[in-house]
């Protein structure tokens, strides 16, 4: 294994931790808004780290570029969709969670 492989493994594990944390938040947080908050961390940062990790080990720049494009698309869709879900929830009258 080369240095870049070790680096990729570290980044991939970091990304997996973000996904785990996001999933835990989705299951354990009290209302739809806080759950969305947890989910976007997994989608944005977690997927970003995994894309970086896979990009390091990918054999060509084309593959790395495709991975990057996937991440950008997910960023765009994830941010917009979580806004739309939150807005729909607000319109439906779901109140913000208070301790």
């Amino acid at each position: 294994m080369m240095v870049s492989d070790y680096l990729a493994v570290v980044v991939l594990i970091l990304g997996a931790i973000f996904f785990l944390a996001g999933t835990l938040g989705l299951l354990r947080f009290p209302d739809v808004y806080t759950r969305l908050h947890a989910l976007t961390k997994a989608d944005n940062v977690g997927l970003g780290l995994i894309v970086i990790g896979l990009g390091i080990t990918s054999e060509s720049l084309v593959v790395a570029g495709k991975l990057l494009l996937i991440w950008l698309l997910v960023l765009l869709a994830g941010a917009s969709v979580s806004y739309l879900i939150a807005r729909a929830a607000l319109h439906k009258g779901i109140r913000l969670w208070k301790r």
Binding site: L73, L76, A77, S80, Y83, R87
Partner: protein, 318 residues
């Protein structure tokens, strides 16, 4: 190597168990919205399963049609059935009948018989069989394309694809002839609007790419068409409606173009080579590309029209 195969085994096992669990949950769930979401999740895992089975063509189709478009259709049907319920008529009393015990037993017995028959058929298969894949590989050079799946779908068994196109068209005709429901007012929203503006060109590009790459790699008319229809669904969700001057003849032309071209080429090949849809090998590549391009547009428009439900012209009359 040993550890890797163990990892793969456990991943595949987990995938299979999740599929069964999701399917069961989607069936027994009484909240219909939850059931639809479970069905979409099932479709995504099913796509992943096809990838694990080294069938990327089916995985693409499953993700785009099975999870994506069917999910959108189910969600829009659900929203409309709620509109009907709000108007005092109830459509959704079916679960009551299904809960009767003797009915359940009947279903269980029928399913057991089907499962036994399927199991018998699967066990009766030879353990190692190439099927027809060697014949496809041997004739691939004559087909005009490099991807064996496309060669089967658009050349060797093009007749099946012709019928599939006709089925899609018939489905839309059936939906249109039902008259449809009043459309819900689309929500306008600046974020949704700019998302749609960014995504539509990307979706059209991906659709064209899938269509072109289908000749040599996984992809093809149905995948490209469903990506195109996703663009249509997004536009409809964002409140865009087909201008009336396009909703009459141009729309109908786009809908029947795929099936029409297929039938025209079938007739032409019947006259020139004497056999239905047997292309001359020299022109096969071009013919398949034309067919797939027209079919992509027709599939995309048909699926988007199915999502909208009622015929746009019909709506204007009301």
């Amino acid at each position: 190597m040993e550890a890797l195969s163990l990892l793969q085994w456990s991943f595949d096992g987990l995938l299979g168990l999740s599929l069964l669990w999701l399917a069961w949950q989607a069936l027994v769930c009484t909240d219909l919205f939850k059931a639809v979401v479970l069905f979409i999740a099932f479709g995504l895992l099913m796509a992943l399963t096809w990838v694990r089975l080294a069938a990327p063509d089916i995985a693409l189709a499953e993700a785009a049609i099975g999870a994506g478009l069917t999910g959108a259709l189910l969600l829009s049907a659900l929203a409309r059935s709620r509109v009907i319920q709000a108007n005092g008529e109830s459509l959704l009393n079916v679960p009551l009948a299904a809960r009767k015990l003797q009915f359940r037993w009947l279903v269980a017995i029928i399913l057991l018989i089907v499962a036994a028959g399927l199991g018998y058929a699967v066990l009766g298969l030879p353990p190692e069989a190439a099927g027809l894949s060697t014949e496809v590989a041997a004739n691939l050079t004559l087909s005009g394309v490099g991807n064996p799946v496309t060669a089967v779908l658009l050349n060797f068994r093009a007749y099946d694809t012709l019928l599939e196109m006709a089925v899609l068209l018939l489905a839309l005709l059936a939906v249109w002839s039902l008259g449809g429901l009043p459309q819900r007012e689309a929500v306008t929203d600046p974020v949704l609007d700019s998302l749609v503006r960014l995504l539509i060109p990307v979706l059209i590009l991906v659709s064209a790419y899938l269509l072109w790459v289908g000749a040599d790699a996984p992809g093809g008319a149905f995948q490209a068409g469903s990506v195109l229809s996703a663009a249509g669904v997004l536009l409809l969700l964002a409140g865009w409606r087909l201008p009336l001057r396009l909703a009459q003849r141009p729309l109908r032309f786009a809908l029947v173009a795929g099936t029409g071209t297929f039938i025209a080429i079938a007739v032409l090949t019947l006259i020139s080579t004497g056999r239905l849809l047997e292309y001359p090998p020299a022109q096969a590549g071009t013919l398949i590309l034309i067919l797939e391009a027209v079919a992509t547009i027709s599939i995309g428009v048909t699926l988007a029209a199915l999502f909208q439900g009622a015929s746009p012209v019909h709506k204007e009359k009301q």
